[in-house]
Structure formats: structure tokens, C-alpha cells
Symmetry: C2
Subunit: 536 residues, 2 copies
């Protein structure tokens, strides 16, 4: 791969190009701060030089613990430009979790937003490999209240220089970043992305979410989450504008959407909910493209997105697949369907994206299940949009890639039109009287009840059936519904045997930082005292 | 490159995907014929099997001599699916030129459109490696008038089967096609494209020409020309619709644009001219994107494209760069400029595309020339959008890639905004009194004269200066202008020493099949009897 006729693929080329083509164009907006592409590339070079001057060597890991601020965006280019590997840590983790990731990745340097410094302070003395902690004071979050010792971000930058670095890389298969899984079960695992994979996924997302040079991208998706599904690189490639956002709040989102004329944003369903439920919600003149994943968008949300002139692109993937691997590809004619019917079609996980391979659903022997919409199997993936492996964990890597395909642990069916529909996480499925029951299917049935705002279903012990589904339901403000009414509604909607045996009403569901319900928490309470089944 | 986490890049994946995602969507339109993506992939499989059954083995070359018909589009996938290499031959070549390409490429099979069979008949007995000639009878061209012997296309297909073949390839750097240079000088050279390069160029073109799943692409660019700048693969990737066209004629183009609701087409300036000059020209409801190369679009054409609601994307490249390598990237604000000013900006060759490397202009020692818009240098390129090399011609390959970059033989300047402007082919530049004079610059000056339709400038012998520019000018119908008026106009427009010493008026300029003026022809006449300079 060293001939002149094939350059190594790397997202670094994207910034090199945009800085040359659009030097004066605003690349990053954050509060009152506006950085052009020239400034962006300039600070990337300076920081890469500073990292090298701070002892960072090729292959070293550099950890960041930050909200969606320009410094983390800059790190997506500066860390690999220095030859190093970016570890962007989930900003909602507790100190011991941050410590685990720093230690496991062997990161030498940790860069922390001042608001998050308090997370790190209790564990600072325990960090095994971190040689230095740098604190960022972001003017948008107010004055720097952190009195923690150690250098500040400008001190780090001062060690650098403006001496250009080479934007090419010697090996496109080298690791560009490590993203730790959310780890609702067991220890987080470090998912390794390559320059090649990041490059190709970026281009695929540009095509599927219809980005262009006039893209204005609002950072509602955490940058630490799969490197923002690679949009940190992708939006830069197309010469779009990054609009940073420290916290996802309806009023803030709308203020920026209007002020910056936002064209695109990504986010899990809670982001969509916050967006369409905000007091400021109104029809936009210019269409907004919302790319969503994590859970299928429900009919109500899709109808409200229609109402604000937003188009929903539903994608599916995991941390192990650079974020999105498949897309529920829009078909001509869907625009004429009733919103409920359209939502049902759009709720599916779909087909492999342009840059990905096929999305398969297989049985235990790796045979494709029939495309009948009912035979459940495991979703498996492979190719350029699947991770290199787990960092320093060959055992887990080998297990994940058994039979040459990455095993998602997600269960689904293949619909007759070859669109995959996700039914459940393997570990969340309810096995009742020998039948597999999808908790997602029950949740979706419950969500069609007009009084219901949110729902989660898990399997609970049952003497006769082994287990039975139980629903945890949040009602809309001011609405009422009985347990019996919910159960009857499910029976009227899907097969009766799938109906929950019980319904508990909650004020809100527990959620992880990426908007998922940690079902193991719900299960744990119900299974306390039982030993017949180990889950979660 | 064999790990599960990185599949080999190949355009074959594009058709595999679109056939799965859009089985019922019309992929190809040709006259009354409409093929869905399922049909398309089905015929590709059948043909690939037929080629294998006909003795085609991995790495073998298969030659096609056809206009823009579905069979040639199908060959772009079927030939590589059979593991072989596509050689699409310029349909306007003479018999001996076709023979040379067949022999040089060592093609085993030649597939010929019945209308072009007469080109081949005189040389059929001389073909060194062709084992079989297959004739296609295209119903759109009328009944098959060819009485040539040998099998017809349906006979070939009958040797195949519908048994699926694997759409993956063992090596992304393998050759997918060989495109012979037009060879205005010397023998044509066989430019080798790789699966990887074709894949990446396809994605880049989709982004730069703003293709989407609703693309309807009119085949005005010859498919044999750089595989239609890779759009044979790219439009298939995005699930767009191919509208075939045997001959570029204004009325035919407009009929299809209206009937099929065409959104995109590519072509050299003569295509644009034919389009905007047609009687049927009228403003389109849906914007048309016209991607053009070969010569800068002139202000008049751009204004007329505005008038029909067409946006012009100006790209630049050579056969050696898969077609487009650079794009005159649109900048915010250009839409507000006067058409003349906008045309001047758009006439430049611009910057490397997303999937390409930088476009450089270098001096003899490979140093970048200053970005001053006046220092001339050679345009050099490298990376994934540059050919693997010339087939069976290591000497020419080594020469083209001296210093690790592909040498285009084109001369240009770097403008202060880092956009490259092409001045001339190295062999076309006029050296007068030691000064390099760009013939393109003079031509553009002449074209701004209101009476002028077309112009070409070459160097002619001059006792005092070594050579001086001479202009060949075509006037607009009904317009008149004297030699002196043209010379004065040039002197008033650019530096006086660049003015032609003579002007000859012609009814039309000679043009190659790709719309270029073969300047060596014009020069030859003028230099007859002189031996001081060898050019062309």
C-alpha cells in the first residue's frame, strides 16, 4: 500500500482539504466564539505539536473528558496528527469508571473540562498511566471555578508551534481512536477504530444524511459517543459548520437552530423528544435532517418532526460499528403514506449503508434466517464499518468475531423487503414457556396507547412459564390509565401471550447517558432472591 | 487486508446493495426498455457466468465497442464480477485503432454494437488475441443491419446462468478496467483503474455533483470515456436511474430530460452547447446539475445554463485520474456575482476533490510554484484517484510517475485562493522570445469578442521570435470580424505580446470525439517544411 497511486485513507485529509478550500469559512461556532477552517487547522497543528512536546509518541493514547466543545473537536484531528490515539470518555461516568478507562487504555495525558474536573479529583492519585491532567476553562460554562492544580489548556498549547505537520499517515489500518462501550454489564471494552474505517464511515454518513457544503450541524449527539458517529470527521470533510452545544436542552437547541440556521443534527430519541416538545418548536423554513438511532422513532415523534419540517433518517449500529452501519433507506412512495404506516416502516433498522456490507440476520449456524419477518436470529456485521477489535482484549475480540462476522448480540428478523427489524438485545429477550418474546415489540405496543409517554419491558420470574414480561410505564402529564387497560391494549395490538403479566407506573424511566434504559437495573429488583436465571 | 474488519473496496458492492435495497426501482432506461435494479443485477450475474463459460478467466481482458447502451453499463459490473478487466473502446475510432487496442490489451473477447460492426469488419482477420466477436443488436438503433457472422449477444447470455456469484473481490488493488488514452500523439496507452480507485472516485463524484437516491442521470458523456468518469458505478451506488443515449443531440437530450425528469448529466462543453442551443431549451422546474470538464465553460454558456435552471459543476482531470480529480469548488457568495465574474471564477480547475489528494503546480524541481496566479508550472497529482499505471508499459509508467507524482503534462498557475488554473498543455504552449505564452489564455480572450463562436490557438514559426501564436477562429452565424479586429481585441484584453500574429477564419474547428481540438493537426500544416521544433 505504498505506491503513489493509492494514498492511505485518513480523516486528516478532510481537514487539510477544507482548510485549503474554505480558509475563511466559519468551521466551528461555540457561544460567541467563531473559528474559521484556517483557525481550526491552525489550532490542530499547534495542539499536535504540543502533544509531541509533552512526550506523546506515535501510538500513545490521549484521553479527553469533555462535553461537546471545540477543544474535543480539535482533538479528533490533533491527536491523530500527532500520531496518537484519541480516547474520548463519556462525560457522565463516575470517577472510578473514568479511572478504569484511563488505566485500561494506558492513556498518558488526560484533558478535562473544568466542570468535569470534580469527577476526576477523587481518583487523581490512583491513575496508573496518566502523567498529566490538563484543565480546559470553557467561557461558555462561566468562569473557571475549578481550583484543581496543574496546567490549563492554554499552557498545553503554548508548548506547541505552528510548524506544519504531514497530514498523511503511514498506515490506514492504524488505530485513530478507542471508544469505550457504555458497559451496562461488565467492564467497559475499548473499541478500536481505524483511519480507514473512520474515513469511509464519514463519507457514507455524508451521503445518507444528505450533507453538503452548506451543512450547519448542531452537536446534540455526544462527541464522545462513537466520535459522534464519525461526524466530527464527516462534517469537516464536506466543509460544513460545527455548532457546539454543552447540554441538550430544548430552548438552547431552538435558539441555535434559528440563530445559526442549522440544517442537520443527530441524536437518540430523547433528543428528538426534547426538540419537538420545546415551547419554541415551530415549522422551519429550511428543512432539518435529523439522523436518529438507539431506538426506533415512534409515530408521534415522526408526526411532530413533520410539523417542524424535519426529515428523520433512522440508522442503526453499535459502538463496535463506528455508530451507524445500517439505514432505514427511504423508498419512493413513503412520503404519501399515513404517518402511522410511515412510522412503522421507518422504525426498522433497514439495510447496510453504502460504505458498509450487508446487514445479516443469522441462526446459530450462521445461515441467513428466512426473510419472513418472524424468524428471529442474531444481527451480524462485518467489513470496513466494523471495529478492528477490542483494545488489549483478544479474548473478547475473538468471541465477538466468531465465524468471521461481528456478533451484535441484537436479535432481529428479516422482513420480506430485506429490511432488518431489531427485536431485542439477546440478553433482554423474555423466554416464556419456551417462546422468545421481544420486549421491544411489547414496548412499541404499549407506546401506541394514547396515555403513555414512555415504557420499558423486562422478563420477571414466573413459576409456571419460567418468566413473563413486566412493563414499567410512564404516563403523559395529566393522563391516567390502569394496569388492566395497558394489558388489554397490548392484547388488542399484538399476540395475547406477549402481554405483560404486570404493569408498574413510574414517574420516569432510568436512562443511561446515551438515552437507553438499563434494563438490568429493572430486572435486578425483580429477580432478587431468584437464582434460576442470570441476565444483565 | 484480509481481516473481517476491512472488506476490499469494490464498485461491485454498489450494485449488490442497490439490487437488494431497490429491487423494483427502475435502474436503466433505454428507449422503451426499462430494467429494474433486480433485472440489472440479474443480467450482470448471467453475463458474468456467460463470460466464464466462454473461457474468460480472472485477469483476462474483455473489450467493448459500443455507444451508451445498457449492455455497456452491464459490462461495467459483469466483467469484473467474472474476475476480468473491462476495456471500453472509443466508439469513434477507426478499425486499425480498435485493432491496436484489442491487440495491446490482449483482449480475448470483443463485444460490438451492430452499428459499429462495420468499423471492425476490415480488421477482423488481423486481431491477434480476440477469440470471438459478439454483436449486439440494439432495438433503439433500428433493425440489425449487420450481416456479419458470429454469435449475437443473446447467444452469449445463453451460455450463462442465474447461479449467484460472490460480489466481493480478493484484492481491491486489482485492475477493474483499462481505458486507452485518446492518443492524439503516439500510440494510445492503456490506463489501469483499480477497484479501490473506482470505488472512491464514485463516492467523491456523488458528493461533489450532489447525487441522491432520486438522481436521474442522462448518459451524455461517453461510457467509454474514463468509464463515464466512474458514474457507471457511482450512479448505481446511490440507487439512481441511468438514462441511456446513443447520440448526443439537442432534441433527443431535451426529450429525455423532460420525459424522464433528468436531474444530472455530465459532458464536455460541446454537450453543454448542444443543450442550451437546442430549440427545445426552456427553464426546468427541477434543477439540473451539469458536471463539465475538458475546457472551462464560457460566460455565455453559464448564463444560458442559468436560464434553463441548470447548475454547472466544473471538474478537471485526465484519463489517468479516473476522469475528475479536482473541482472548482463553489464558494458562498458566488451566486450573487455577475455572470461574467462568476464564469471567470468557475473557469478554474480548482482544488482536489474530497477523495483525491491536493492538486499541485510545481516547477522542474517539484517545488510548489508561488500562489501568485502568474508563475507557470506543471500540474501533478497522486493518490487514490490516479491510475495504477499504463498496461504493459512500465517505461511510460515510470516516466509519468517521476518524483512520485503523476505528471499531467498540463501547465497552470496557483491562484492566491489556492485554486489551480490550467493554462495549457505543455506541448501546446507557445514559446516566443523565451516567454511561455498560454494558448488557452489567448483563446479565452478571443472568445470574449462578441462575434466569435469558437477559437483555437497554436504556435507557428517566426524568424525573429522562434514562434508566435496564430488563431483559428469560427465566427457566429451572421457575424463578421476582421483579422485586425480580433488581434486588437486580444491586445485590449491581455498582455499585448500575447496577441496572435495572424488569424485564420474557419467554418468549424476540428474536434476529437471528446470535444478537444487536436492542435497537432493545426500545427502540422503551419510547421510543414520547418524542422526547428518537434511538437505534437
Amino acid at each position: 500500500m505504498s505506491s503513489v497511486s493509492h494514498a492511505q485513507l485518513t480523516p486528516l485529509r478532510f481537514l487539510e482539504r477544507s482548510a485549503e478550500v474554505y480558509p475563511e469559512k466559519v468551521a466551528i461556532v461555540h457561544g460567541d466564539r467563531r473559528m474559521t477552517y484556517r483557525d481550526f487547522a491552525g489550532e490542530v497543528t499547534r495542539l499536535a505539536r504540543a502533544l509531541q512536546a509533552s512526550g506523546i509518541e506515535p501510538g500513545d493514547r490521549v484521553a479527553y473528558l469533555c462535553p461537546n466543545i471545540p477543544e474535543l473537536l480539535i482533538a479528533h484531528f490533533a491527536v491523530p496528527l500527532a500520531g496518537a490515539v484519541l480516547v474520548a470518555i463519556n462525560s457522565r461516568l463516575a470517577g472510578q469508571e473514568v479511572r478504569y478507562i484511563c488505566d485500561h487504555s494506558g492513556a498518558k495525558l488526560l484533558v478535562v473540562d473544568s466542570e468535569l474536573r470534580s469527577t476526576v479529583i477523587p481518583v487523581e492519585d490512583q491513575l496508573a498511566t496518566i502523567q498529566e491532567i490538563i484543565t480546559i476553562s470553557d467561557p461558555v460554562s462561566g468562569p473557571d471555578l475549578s481550583d484543581a492544580p496543574g496546567p490549563r489548556y492554554p499552557d498545553l498549547l503554548e508548548r506547541g508551534s505552528d510548524e506544519p505537520l504531514d497530514w498523511t499517515v503511514p498506515d490506514e489500518l492504524a488505530t485513530i481512536s478507542i471508544n469505550y462501550t457504555s458497559g451496562t454489564t461488565g467492564k467497559p471494552k475499548g473499541v478500536m477504530y481505524s483511519h480507514r474505517g473512520a474515513y469511509l464511515n464519514s463519507l457514507g454518513e455524508l451521503l445518507h444524511s444528505e450533507h453538503g457544503a452548506d451543512t450547519v450541524y448542531l452537536w446534540t449527539l455526544p462527541m464522545f459517543h462513537c466520535n459522534g458517529w464519525c461526524t466530527a470527521w464527516g462534517v469537516t470533510a464536506i466543509g460544513g459548520r460545527h455548532v457546539c452545544l454543552r447540554a441538550v436542552r430544548g430552548d438552547l437547541m431552538w435558539q441555535l437552530i434559528v440563530q445559526e440556521e442549522v440544517t442537520h443534527l443527530n441524536g437518540a430519541p430523547p433528543v428528538l423528544s426534547a426538540l419537538v416538545s420545546a415551547d419554541e418548536a415551530h415549522p422551519l423554513e429550511r428543512r432539518l435532517v435529523i439522523t436518529t438511532a438507539g431506538a426506533p422513532p415512534n409515530p408521534n415523534t415522526i408526526a411532530r418532526c413533520d410539523g417542524i419540517n424535519a426529515r428523520v433518517v433512522h440508522v442503526y449500529g453499535l459502538t463496535e460499528t463506528y455508530g451507524p452501519y445500517s439505514v432505514c433507506q427511504w423508498q419512493t412512495g413513503w412520503e404519501d403514506l399515513e404517518v402511522k404506516e410511515r412510522a412503522a416502516l421507518l422504525s426498522r433498522q433497514g439495510v447496510g449503508m453504502i460504505q458498509a456490507e450487508r446487514l445479516r440476520v443469522v441462526d446459530d449456524e450462521m445461515n441467513d434466517v428466512p426473510a419472513d419477518g418472524t424468524t428471529m436470529g442474531e444481527i451480524v456485521m462485518r467489513g470496513n464499518n466494523v471495529m478492528k477489535g477490542y483494545f488489549d482484549d483478544q479474548g473478547a475480540t475473538d468471541q465477538a468475531f466468531s465465524d468471521g462476522w461481528f456478533h451484535s448480540g441484537d436479535l432481529g428478523v428479516m422482513q420480506p423487503d430485506r429490511y432488518v427489524q431489531l427485536l431485542d438485545r439477546a440478553k433482554d429477550v423474555v423466554v416464556s414457556g419456551g417462546e422468545n418474546i421481544s420486549t421491544v415489540e411489547i414496548e412499541q405496543a404499549i407506546l401506541t396507547h394514547e396515555a403513555v409517554l414512555d415504557a420499558a419491558v423486562v422478563g420477571v420470574p414466573d413459576e409456571k412459564w419460567g418468566e413473563r414480561p413486566k412493563a414499567f410505564v410512564v404516563l403523559k402529564p395529566g393522563e391516567a390509565a390502569s394496569e388492566e387497560a395497558i394489558i388489554d391494549h397490548v392484547k388488542a395490538t399484538i399476540a395475547r401471550y406477549k402481554a405483560p403479566k404486570a404493569v408498574a407506573f413510574l414517574d420516569e424511566l432510568p436512562k443511561t447517558s446515551t438515552g437507553k434504559v438499563p434494563k438490568f437495573e429493572l430486572r435486578e429488583r425483580e429477580w432478587a432472591g431468584h437464582t434460576s436465571r442470570i441476565k444483565g
